[in-house]
Subunit: 144 residues, 2 copies
């Protein structure tokens, strides 16, 4: 049984892929309800800070507190998104996969953020195919 | 003699203040030339991820590399902006002041980022006045 919030993050990633964008999606939830979703928009908007997690947080708009929220993302959060989770005091992150990109789990955990990894094979396949077919774009997105 | 790139960051902060926004500005430079400037846009755009540094990076658009850039900011970078500097591999940050907000200098330096603090009294005064007059908004911006 899949989590509907995670499915929304996955659908956002697939939407980005269908637009020619980088297939990483995210969703912010409160009490199991979706506050906002987002996906990487480097290609679509020419916006280098619009990783999936950042786009979901932007779409959620101003919030007085994130302490009762959970951030879902299809891929392990990079340093930017990790720093944002720490700054916003989001207590928990649910991650689709960390096989194709390791993210910053040590930093997240050192600041008290709970990290759950789903090892979702659909996410692994999606990113593996993307990284193979768009190596230059992927390198740009992670400043490799 | 003030650095013209830092002055551009300071002017961006003052522009934000004049708009009723949070007075934090930034500028990205390459070879001493300004690539882009930005300021906090929480109030103006309702965008919680638009700290000054993030807005400048967004305005700069897609860049293949940041290794030859310097990021200037009027206030010590928070965890979000610190994570972004690390992720984008920006090697050097010039900071107006760190008296009114400590930022994440230890994290920046632990990842090899050079941090220069100007101790600019104009920046200190600007933030001190703002934090006093808009305590709720400031608390929201740093998720206090």
């Amino acid at each position: 049984m899949t989590d509907p919030v995670f499915e929304a993050a996955f659908q956002a990633a697939q939407k980005s892929l269908s637009e020619g964008g980088i297939p990483i999606g995210a969703a912010l939830a409160r009490g199991g309800e979706i506050v906002a979703t987002g996906h990487n928009e480097r290609v679509q908007q020419g916006d280098p800070i619009a990783h999936g997690e950042m786009s979901a947080l932007r779409a959620a708009g101003r919030q007085r507190s994130y302490r009762d929220t959970v951030l879902y993302t299809t891929l392990a959060p990079c340093a930017m998104c990790t720093g944002t989770i720490i700054q916003f005091k989001i207590p928990k992150v649910v991650v689709g996969e960390a096989e194709t990109f390791p993210g910053e789990f040590d930093l997240l955990r050192s600041r008290g953020v709970e990290v759950v990894v789903l090892n979702d094979e659909r996410c692994v396949d999606m990113m593996r195919n993307f990284q193979r077919d768009h190596a230059e774009l992927w390198a740009e997105d992670i400043a490799k």
